[in-house]
């Protein structure tokens, strides 16, 4: 009798264990998270962060996906339109107006108010992220400011100081543009201009202090002259490589590292690669002042939560985790950008001179206008008009008219 009861009891035991497992599984929440790192090797750092988070929060599972940069935002917008947005994604301020227009993102104002990590955020970062409706949708994650990388050894050899003004910049670029015969068999160009996509942050420091995105701000005589000055760097002074109209991130970085250009604009994200390739030969300063004022691009990256998320509490926990002290530093290790916390800023791993160039730039670093037209300006309007102007197909004035029309036509 006893022996016939045993299998029944065993079966009941197995069933109850299975039920417990099922209950635990159903209590577990999965947060889908999209981000990008340039170096795929660095996804291991993200895996470590996920592991740490999941250990602390055993009921939450993070599904982190590294999306290739080239179609990151296309994929994000299409996923939103298709109702398949992730729960949390890394985004940029320039896209906030479009995401708001799509009614796609969830405010985090209430959660921020009671979040203990808020006091550790660097000053002003939350204010910069505040939306036009007064709500907060973005949690600061990392930031950069564009500055000037220059070849300290070549500047010393030519007895030049790092440029503080547009005029200094042109003078240095001219002196450092050398034919192959005068530079050990390799042509050297003073300025590695980025004429392709993303080059608006090279153009901005020269043109935007003397123009504005308001109606007529791009077509004033001063603005058109500033743009002509920039175009002339390639067309008249020939201080940039002839491939400049098509050059993008990879081309300008590789030419600088290979010693074919003496100055380029980029941010701290490439500091480690620069220092590894050139050591003490490379240094950095804030962008030069043009027309008596300075402007440089403030590049932010934040996390944002999507309205379609069914696990908003878990999503918030993950977002806030990524922006806290050491976790944020670890995330920045994967991207090479700067931490958003006060406690972390003393521990940043990048060489001090590049951190200083970034900090010195913050006083005049600004994002592009927070309007829906900005995204298309960056991806289409600027590269197309700039390339045409650099090749002489349109004039400086025509380029500026196109930009003015893009921002100011209802």
């Amino acid at each position: 009798m006893q022996s016939s009861r045993r299998p029944v009891l065993r079966a009941l035991g197995v069933a109850s264990f299975a039920l417990t497992l099922c209950a635990a599984a159903s209590a577990q929440q999965t947060v889908n998270f999209w981000y990008h790192v340039d170096n795929a090797e660095n996804t291991k750092i993200m895996d470590d962060l996920v592991k740490t988070f999941e250990t602390k929060n055993p009921t939450i599972k993070i599904k982190a996906e590294n999306i290739p940069w080239n179609n990151y935002f296309d994929k994000l917008f299409i996923s939103i339109a298709g109702g398949k947005a992730p729960d949390v994604a890394v985004t940029r301020l320039a896209l906030q107006p479009q995401l708001l227009e799509m009614n796609a993102i969830e405010p985090i104002t209430k959660q921020l108010a009671t979040w203990p990590g808020k006091a550790d955020l660097a000053p002003n970062l939350l204010d910069i992220n505040k939306a036009s409706d007064g709500e907060y949708y973005y949690m600061p994650l990392q930031y950069v400011a564009i500055y000037l990388y220059y070849r300290a050894d070549l500047f010393a050899k030519a007895n030049l100081k790092p440029p503080a003004t547009c005029e200094d910049f042109l003078e240095a670029a001219k002196k450092l543009t050398l034919p192959a015969s005068a530079n050990g068999g390799t042509e050297l160009y003073g300025f590695g201009m980025r004429g392709g996509k993303g080059g608006h942050d090279n153009w901005g420091p020269f043109v935007l202090p003397q123009s504005s995105f308001a109606p007529g701000g791009m077509t004033s005589a001063k603005a058109v002259a500033a743009n002509s000055w920039y175009i002339d760097l390639l067309r008249k002074h020939k201080v940039s490589p002839p491939s400049a109209p098509n050059d993008g991130f990879n081309e300008i970085i590789s030419a600088f590292k290979a010693g074919r250009t003496a100055m380029i604009f980029h941010h701290i994200g490439s500091a480690k690669a620069m220092a590894d390739a050139l050591g003490d030969k490379v240094s950095a300063v804030p962008v030069p002042s043009c027309g008596g004022a300075r402007w440089t691009y403030f590049g932010d990256e934040s996390t944002t939560m999507f309205k379609t998320s069914k696990v908003k509490d878990a999503a918030w926990k993950w977002m806030s985790f990524l922006s806290e002290g050491d976790n944020n530093l670890k995330f920045n290790e994967a991207t090479g950008q700067l931490t958003v916390t006060k406690s972390g800023s003393a521990k940043v791993p990048q060489p001090e001179r590049f951190v200083k160039a970034t900090m010195d730039s913050l006083a005049f670093a600004k994002p592009l206008p927070l309007v829906p037209q900005t995204a298309d300006f960056v991806s289409s309007v600027w590269p197309t008009t700039m390339q045409r102007a650099l090749n002489g197909e349109i004039t400086s004035a025509q380029m500026m008219q196109e930009i003015d029309k893009h921002f100011n036509t209802k």
Binding site: M102, G195, P242, S243, P245, R260, P372, S380, I394
Partner: protein, 293 residues
């Protein structure tokens, strides 16, 4: 009776999976694209989506970038396909000869065709690079150039530079197709012609070319369609730039759709291009396909 009925249904049953897949994968998206093209549909303005009839098509008619891209698409197809055909024909005739290492040569010739387009785009971008590129270096050493030319950054040369890369990528397709065709021509025809005193050229003109006609017509049609729609190599090498210099119509449609997120206008561009391509293929088959079953 039942056997005849069974026979008449069987072809439809066998064809239905392929037809169903085509309807789902091809026809449904095509119909959807036509419908989208009749709307003002900018992805980030979901509240402003509205039916606008043919307004997108009227805007295309007045869009100078469309006409410039159409002209470039004609150059793109008009140069790439004939050059690939010519190079493929010469290669196939050579590979049809008997020589040592012929099997190896036949395998190696496939390499450009087998490489992914992204690899080809990157490889040729570096070949054309004015500072470190092989082409400029060779031409400077041979004295053909005085200064390096930015082949891809110059609007006068960029499209032709990409065409050269695509010719290199695509000629093995023609070579292999034509080689297969050549091997079906009976050798006795050449022997008879030789006895009649026909020269090599006459044999090629009167035997080889007519025998290859059906292969050539089909291969050219396929390549016209593929080359017309091919944007990957352009996208990798120049992204459509500098300016609009390497914009072909499909690339323009892609950029309007994804970079500007204007799905209505982008779909109208895609539909217009599809109709133009269908028209061109129809005309081609009417002229070149005469006498071919």
């Amino acid at each position: 009776m039942s056997k005849r009925k069974h026979t008449s249904i069987l072809p439809y049953v066998l064809l239905s999976p392929a037809v169903l897949a085509t309807v789902i994968v091809v026809f449904y998206p095509m119909v959807q694209a036509v419908i989208t093209s009749l709307y003002n549909n900018i992805l980030w303005k979901p509240r402003a989506v509205k039916f606008i009839g043919l307004d997108n098509y009227i805007a295309i008619w007045n869009d100078p970038v469309f006409w410039a891209s159409l002209g470039r698409t004609a150059i793109w197809i008009g140069l790439t396909v004939p050059l690939q055909l010519l190079l493929g024909l010469v290669t196939a005739l050579l590979l049809n000869q008997t020589f040592r290492w012929r099997s190896l040569a036949r395998s190696l010739i496939l390499i450009p065709w087998a490489l992914p387009s992204v690899v080809i785009g990157l490889m040729w971008s570096w070949i054309y690079n004015p500072q470190v590129g092989l082409l400029n270096d060779l031409m400077l050493r041979l004295g053909l150039l005085q200064t390096a030319v930015p082949w891809l950054a110059n609007p006068g040369t960029s499209l032709y530079a990409i065409i050269a890369a695509l010719v290199w990528q695509g000629f093995p397709f023609f070579a292999i197709m034509i080689l297969a065709g050549l091997q079906t021509i009976p050798h006795s025809l050449y022997e008879a012609a030789e006895i009649d005193g026909a020269t090599d050229w006459e044999q090629f003109w009167h035997i080889t070319l007519p025998a290859l006609k059906s292969v050539l017509v089909t291969a050219v049609m396929l390549r016209i369609i593929w080359v017309a729609n091919s944007i990957d190599v352009i996208y990798v090498m120049t992204g459509g730039g500098p300016g609009y210099a390497t914009h072909t119509l499909p690339l323009y449609a892609l950029k309007r759709t994804y970079a500007s997120m204007d799905f209505g206008y982008g779909s109208a561009l895609a539909v217009s291009f599809s109709l133009l391509l269908l028209g061109a293929i129809y005309m081609y088959l009417r002229r070149a396909g005469k006498g071919i079953e």
